[in-house]
Amino acid sequence: MSEKKDIKPGDELIKEALYHELESIEPPPTDEAWKRIEAELDNNQSRTSLKMKQDHQRSHQQKFNWTRYHYGAVAAAILLVVVLSSLGIFNQWDFAALPALEDQAPVEEMEQPEAMEGVEDEAAPGIMVEEEAPAADLPFFRRETDPAPPDWQQSLPDDFRLEDVFLLTEGEALAYHGATYHRNDESLLWVKVEADHKETDSFKENLGKHLQVEVQKVGVINGYTHFEAAGQPGLAWREDERIQALLVKSGTVSVEQLKNIAAEIN
């Protein structure tokens, strides 16, 4: 028997009470609400079209490059091999030239770690260093392999894709589980930490230590603590016994967009 047909007198009473309850509440005027919804959806649509356009251009470009150049490149390589072979270059290679090459190679190898360490150690509070390569793009905190990472989602709303998973450690600060998500040139950092009430107050301070920037509370939006880290927006919230934060690492993601993403991952 369907539930509808199984209505008891008590159910009728609840039904009527609920009807009165929902129908009697007077919402604020629709215009403002609609404007915000419309703006947010338009914003989302333009981002989607931009992404589609970029994807299209990228695929077109890839196709263009391949069809135009690959035959030429192969032909040039063959020609080079033939010419070099005919000149006997491979057999008479001057190994004396190698030291010069060896001199260069270690410099390149050594410069990268030095530059990374320098950025990590010298990054001044309040300054966020912009980097291009996402893999080495974490100059403002120390990270280690996370031995027991939480179950990170593969993607976030609005096409942000999981990029990296790690553990943030910094001195005595409580270690935070971290993950970065990437979309074009925008990157988000999501952190999670198991914490009780005593640790809530130190969350911001610890986050600042991990990021090596000053974290400032801006206010509260929809129950999220809105903060700024080096001018980039972030949101923090408590979910059961876990404190979480989602912040913009690079790019221009608005706090509004951030809020929508945070709402959907909850």
Binding site: I14, E23, S24, I25, P28, I37, W237
Partner: protein, 198 residues
């Protein structure tokens, strides 16, 4: 317009279709949010977020005719998450008298029933969010337990249990007033429960 047609238009980012759905469901969506949050500004934010989320994820709605119930699930989930984040217990600290409650014109015949309805309304406001969610879906949107379970991604048994606990809680709230028998179906031969007037 047909619900399925509206859904398809929304899927194609038709602004008119969105606006139509917004106008049709704004009030009840706001009411669902308000009844969980009991704060106007929060209910406003959650209502807007719910519409944005619904329009962006319209592909996930299987049956266009159930847009209202689906939106109510989104709204109540957002509101519940909000409460979890805030760790607030808002059900008892704001004994807000909803508009309309005091505007009821009691006639001699309907006075008792209206009084009971008012009591239940107050008790409904004190329901935990997950029970309120189930109650709204069953009693306001007339959904079957299986449908509610599908929408909330729960087992039907869990939904039944939430509904049962909600009734128990409503009965508990009304116990002092002697109305609980109606809600727990314990009326017996001398059923004191008011019957719906048609």
């Amino acid at each position: 317009m047909e619900p399925e047609k509206l859904k398809e238009l929304v899927r194609q980012n038709d602004n008119e279709a969105r606006r139509q759905l917004f106008e049709a469901y704004y009030k009840r969506t706001y009411s669902v949010a308000f009844n969980i949050l009991r704060r106007r500004e929060n209910a406003e934010d959650i209502t807007q977020d719910a519409f944005i989320k619904a329009f962006k994820n319209i592909d996930q709605l299987k049956d266009g005719a159930k847009f209202g119930a689906w939106l109510a699930v989104i709204t109540s989930n957002l509101a519940r998450n909000y409460l979890k984040r805030e760790k607030r217990i808002l059900f008892t600290d704001e004994e807000t008298v909803a508009p309309g409650e005091s505007e009821v014109n009691y006639t001699e015949d309907s006075a008792m029933r209206n009084l009971e309805i008012d009591r239940i309304r107050k008790a409904i406001r004190k329901l935990p969010a997950e029970q309120y969610q189930a109650v709204v879906l069953q009693y306001y949107y007339d959904l079957k337990v299986e449908d509610i379970a599908g929408m909330l991604e729960l087992r039907p048994g869990t939904v039944k249990s939430r509904l049962h606990r909600a009734r128990q809680r409503l009965a508990g709230e009304l116990e002092q007033k002697g109305d609980s028998a109606c809600l727990l179906d314990k009326g017996g031969a001398g059923d004191p429960c008011p019957k719906k007037k048609t």
